[in-house]
Symmetry: C4
Subunit: 252 residues, 4 copies
Amino acid sequence: MNVRQEVYRAVAPEARDSAGLSLFNLFVVVTIVAAITIAILETEPTIRVGNETSFRFANLFFGSFFTFEYLLRVWSAGVNPSYRGARGLIRYVFSVSALIDFVVLIPFWLSFGIGNTAILRLVRLLRLVSLAKMGRFSTALSNIGKALASRAAELGISVAMAVAVILIAATVLYTTEGAANPNDFGSVPRALWWGVATVTKVGYGGAFPVTVLGKIAAAILAFGAVGVIAVPTGILAGSFSIAFRSSDEEQE
Amino acid sequence: MNVRQEVYRAVAPEARDSAGLSLFNLFVVVTIVAAITIAILETEPTIRVGNETSFRFANLFFGSFFTFEYLLRVWSAGVNPSYRGARGLIRYVFSVSALIDFVVLIPFWLSFGIGNTAILRLVRLLRLVSLAKMGRFSTALSNIGKALASRAAELGISVAMAVAVILIAATVLYTTEGAANPNDFGSVPRALWWGVATVTKVGYGGAFPVTVLGKIAAAILAFGAVGVIAVPTGILAGSFSIAFRSSDEEQE
Amino acid sequence: MNVRQEVYRAVAPEARDSAGLSLFNLFVVVTIVAAITIAILETEPTIRVGNETSFRFANLFFGSFFTFEYLLRVWSAGVNPSYRGARGLIRYVFSVSALIDFVVLIPFWLSFGIGNTAILRLVRLLRLVSLAKMGRFSTALSNIGKALASRAAELGISVAMAVAVILIAATVLYTTEGAANPNDFGSVPRALWWGVATVTKVGYGGAFPVTVLGKIAAAILAFGAVGVIAVPTGILAGSFSIAFRSSDEEQE
Amino acid sequence: MNVRQEVYRAVAPEARDSAGLSLFNLFVVVTIVAAITIAILETEPTIRVGNETSFRFANLFFGSFFTFEYLLRVWSAGVNPSYRGARGLIRYVFSVSALIDFVVLIPFWLSFGIGNTAILRLVRLLRLVSLAKMGRFSTALSNIGKALASRAAELGISVAMAVAVILIAATVLYTTEGAANPNDFGSVPRALWWGVATVTKVGYGGAFPVTVLGKIAAAILAFGAVGVIAVPTGILAGSFSIAFRSSDEEQE
């Protein structure tokens, strides 16, 4: 087994029979998490100020490491029969997985030119996608995907019902509360902010009705919200219950 | 195939064998969403002021288009054997679907006379109902409806239990907190507002107990609220699980 | 059929073969709901003041009606073979259902002596229990009861885990936040109030951590809370799914 | 049956055929709950001040009782054939259950030296773990454990998706709200605090977006949060549904 084959076995998840990550890929995962954490912390002024050089150095390291890792993957891809030869190389470079790896590299090198842009940095999150297809997680993702897809129409209807409930509630509260509380309920879009917070149960403290009619309408909506949440949860539960059973039966 | 038959195939959802919307109905859906969005934005003073003419024009367009669409549906309905002839036409005009289409037209034309009434405008939402009966959504709606109907008694009892829990909690907090916090707990109706917010977990910041006894009662209620939400969710999940299984078996 | 038998058929739910309420019992349900609503409204000063006579009159009516209804039930109970004769009468009077009916009467008559006591008035809620055993609701209640009972141990453990999670979180926040925010986190009991609000997701605006460590601990708890809610919901869903299936099979 | 055997039957849960606790162990449970309650109340200044002697006395009692109980367990362990003889004794002392019992004793005796440390006191909670393995709870715990373990990969992915959703949302709000509300959204870590509160639906009143773009992003996140909560709940429900069915089938 030559060096290229050994590198391939280390970097390509599909090269392993068993579930789990190779030592190299484990290190890649840790590095991705570290790079994301650094990108998050760098946005906090109380941490950034005084540590600019350290952050610059860390980003240089991450950028170099991910570039090196990308080149290793491209170089060793040819070991896989599907990516053999010059045309195989081109096919690999334009595969979804390799494109994600490449896209993630761009902000690293850009960041030295155009400064601190958090959204570009978080492109790193994309890398986690390329690792999700490995081992046990692949079956799990496919289970979740199948469960969601098999009841897409039911889930779509429950979202549409939620939107309709919120629209109706926002209109009612705009009508009943608009005069008493123009800042929060003076228009349907303003009342929608309250409606979303109530139905999704986030419950921002800022906006709530003060008139008796408004409070009654809000209480009815709060009750309806239980159904708005319970219906999609119930649909998902029913769907997962079937998906897991058929997945268990396949394995037997 | 004459013009009337072609119009029928374009406007009537039941005329298509395959799932999904015809190009015309797709445009109708987009127009309904646009009309609702315009009606919502028009209530916001910072958007309306200065754009009155644009909104007036948009509403004129929507009113004309939906009227035109309604006339097309009435004119082409006779292609369907169930609505053939003069009596068929009357039967179509008084069908639920056509009545909804007609009711939605009224506020468009009224709005030019009686001004900006958000609730009338949102009657447009009703139109979405008439489109929901198409294709895949029809099976999905029937699945959801069957699941809800088959456990209506259990869901009714869980709602009754929630109401009883809230009433008891509100009475307890009126008794323990009424003196210390008369504004929020000075009567059972006032305490009910807090009770609904707590049990449905919306959690409006405004009202919460300050005495030790009140806090203990509120904590017990908050715990009970988990059950109040979990029981109907569990009922729905169990019900959907059965409904989906029998729906899958029917298709096989 | 004599008068007593006809009264029996009107007042006793077990006298009817079909599901649903007799006309008399339907009126009783409406009266109970009205009596509870009046008792709630009476506690609100802005409604009570000026309407004392109306409320007094309403309560006199409800007290008289429920007393009359109670006497009808006692008088006609003997039609049922289980309650025949003098000893049957005594057995009926001390049956759970009749005792509830009697207990509910007490606060009506007391209220004329000892004034406005909301908790006594809400004893009226108990009456709803005696009506819950009828028709379809009886099967539904038994389904819910069986589902809860069959997984009582699992539900108990999930409650115990929730309590343990809250206790640990409250202790951690007492340690990390106690100095910075003594009013809300200066002792474990105070931090418990925050812990319950967070885990049950009621989220009272009053208390939240301000230090970095406290916020990290609170964020971890908020994540854990998803599990604390999801586990009992999942248990109930699984349990209802089995209960409904066996209930459906019995009916076939 | 000698004294040692009788003590063994009283203290060792595995010595009883039937489910439930022996009288002695019931007393132990009550004492553990009392000890935890005392440890909690002791941290509250308004309760502690003036009652220092009572708390000291209570802790002395609990420390002595748990030490006495620990010695009883060690002494009687040899009745169990697995722990016979000197080597069996050592094996018992280093068993998980006995180690927990011992670890819990340390803070009692330390507390007389190093004063009031709430976290040490709450080590008492650990004791509940050692009691959880008894009777019916043992099956229930194993049911819950099996349900969680069988879908660990799916649950892991749903947690990862939740983290990714929160990270993306926090970055978006840092970008849209950072300038208008630097205190709450001036960096990704600050925005994360809001993101966690929104997605887990705790909804602390403190931080919420004020710009239009920020509100739209927050509303989208609030909607996404329904899925973030519903997916793991659905997975658990599906998993419990299967676990309960196979547990029921085993018992038959």
